[in-house]
Symmetry: C4
Subunit: 208 residues, 4 copies
């Protein structure tokens, strides 16, 4: 394993567990006199929240993978920043369940939506911070990576940091719309991520 | 790690977690005045559902492993399709618990059975879609794989896609029979999977 | 990764998850008028069951690791047998919680104890079956392993299969004693496992 | 994989799962007449406990990683000692939830705090024991490691073992202060860990 290998493996573990724990938040209606179909239909926000959060965490993993693919090694600061990132990722099943539980009540849904989008903002800030840090400490980067071009991408990252706060505002208007936007952003980022110059030439197939 | 290595490791993580979370759905009868043996006997559908779903997810993992064994690299589309596949795999503890909870009530068991089999259909469709995609994009395949022969297997895959919808119909007739059929299908697929030409010659022992 | 590598990695995942899920079965006493110390003291069987089951699963993992260390490759039958073994391993948090819940009530504790020891018997039988299978199919074994000597160990394995049923009987006499014996057996097996000839010479330090 | 590779992978799995299970202990307030903001504000100790325990387990993982980075191989005793260490790590979600549940009630918070800090003491003792053991059995260490210098670090380890018991005393005075100190200790250890001579020269970047 490379120097960054065990950090990646640990991160992969946290991503895989967080994404799989999402299902625990969907309730199994108990055997009662009520019709099962009604009970299942009633909890539709849980299914929607599951799908969106699964895509969101999945795409976070893809991008984490892409970022670490540009690194040659890790230092203590990066390990610590990565730990903060994982703290947010591992927390996501909670706002997902919160939103699913309260999506039918408009007032509470707004609060849950602000928390959900708020955690996305925190994630984006830490992710941006990690990228900023590794492009500053060039010895952490894979020698193949064009450092100047990589640094130039910082601005685009900062733009990304502006998009997420907008979803916090959207949550106040419509928690529904917010959840839909997060789902669409995940699909978008799944196919259009930040091409980091120097590595893409080496992997022309777009291999992740 | 190879290009596809980290996608495989992440997928393995999701499979391993989903299969191990199944046990959380079996209740531990509380310390009450009732006899423990009766309480344990009452929840027999949970044990049956655990065994069948464990085999089903286990065999899904074996086949996922076999499919990725034929790949040389992955691209963004494949990563996304694989994420959709994992979304279904990670969801399976839920229909398992749903079926276990309602298997004693015939009407509700039918609904739970349709959902259970329905997710298997979705899984089969995405799996078939991944196979179709990687045989179309031959640069993703391992050079050892005979592409024409691999493409010819698509029809057999489509036949598989026809078998699963039949279990949805079977769930309406008998949720029991449906669950038994899924268990038998898992054992069958464990020993008879799609031999993909070109690789088998290289691994004559049937090594997976 | 070697041919058996991904099976080992998947198995490791299931072992690690099952062992870590054990803690979820220990309740957190709620904030009530009662004294916390009393509530915590009342659930002492949970702590005992946690410790014993953690050691048991941990030592099962060590032995699984040792067995797969003697293999050069895996075939479909072995993958399927290993899946059955993992089905038992993944199930262990359930009898652990069952025993913890009912250890204070003698009658129910006997039933829970029989189930706990019964699963250990099933585990020993499948593990013995795997060893029997791989010593029969010598092409699966690492060429360094002395096949005749390895086959000779089968009898000792069968003796092991005799010890576990005795703990089922012990559970009927004293569920306590049974749990203690399982803990002691785990410590014993942690330090004294089956030396499989041919490999030990290659690893004189007793490296696992 | 190296001889110690599979032990590391298994340990990583347990660390990753334990750290990700922490979120399950934070409750999702149900849809009731009460205001959601109040219910969320009421459970602030859960958020604090989540953050501190996440950092604590994360830094335990970093140090575990550093320790195993100095090993060339593992023996049975080390595997067993490591299993005891993991038993404590995997248990941490429980005292975390216990502390979160009772932090608002001063008397119960003291008891929960003593248990929380007590497990940290046990962790430090086992970790120190492992370090003592591997520096005594020099054949387990990577040949690059300066054994005499490594042995000299034992005293510093023993000092660490003195710090943790102090937090048990602090829990009796103020469970709050104790939790804060554990958070600060985690941040401190994240950036200042025991440099083990011989390896650091080989990795001048402070790569972990």
């Amino acid at each position: 394993m490379s120097n960054s290998g065990r950090v990646e493996a640990f991160s992969d573990g946290v991503f895989a567990i967080a994404i799989t724990l999402l299902i625990l938040e969907i309730r199994v209606p108990e055997e009662t006199g009520h019709k099962l179909t009604e009970a299942l239909a009633h909890q539709w926000p849980s299914y929607l929240a599951y799908i969106v959060s699964f895509l969101v965490i999945g795409v976070m993993w893809v991008n984490h993978h892409a970022l670490f693919g540009h690194l040659a090694k890790v230092d203590r600061t990066l390990v610590f920043l990565n730990l903060l990132l994982l703290m947010v990722v591992a927390a996501l099943p909670w706002p997902t369940a919160l939103l699913a539980e309260h999506l039918r009540n408009t007032d509470d849904a707004r609060i849950a939506g602000v928390i959900y989008s708020g955690l996305m903002v925190v994630h984006a800030l830490i992710y941006g911070g990690i990228w900023w840090y590794v492009t500053r400490r060039r010895q952490l980067l894979n020698p193949r990576v064009d450092v100047e071009a990589a640094r130039a991408t910082r601005i685009r990252f900062n733009l990304g940091v502006l998009v997420y706060p907008a979803t916090v505002g959207l949550a106040l208007v419509s928690p529904w719309a917010m959840l839909t936007v997060h789902g669409l952003l995940a699909v978008y980022y799944a196919f259009n991520h930040l091409a980091i110059p120097g590595s893409e030439q080496a992997k022309p197939e777009g291999a992740s």
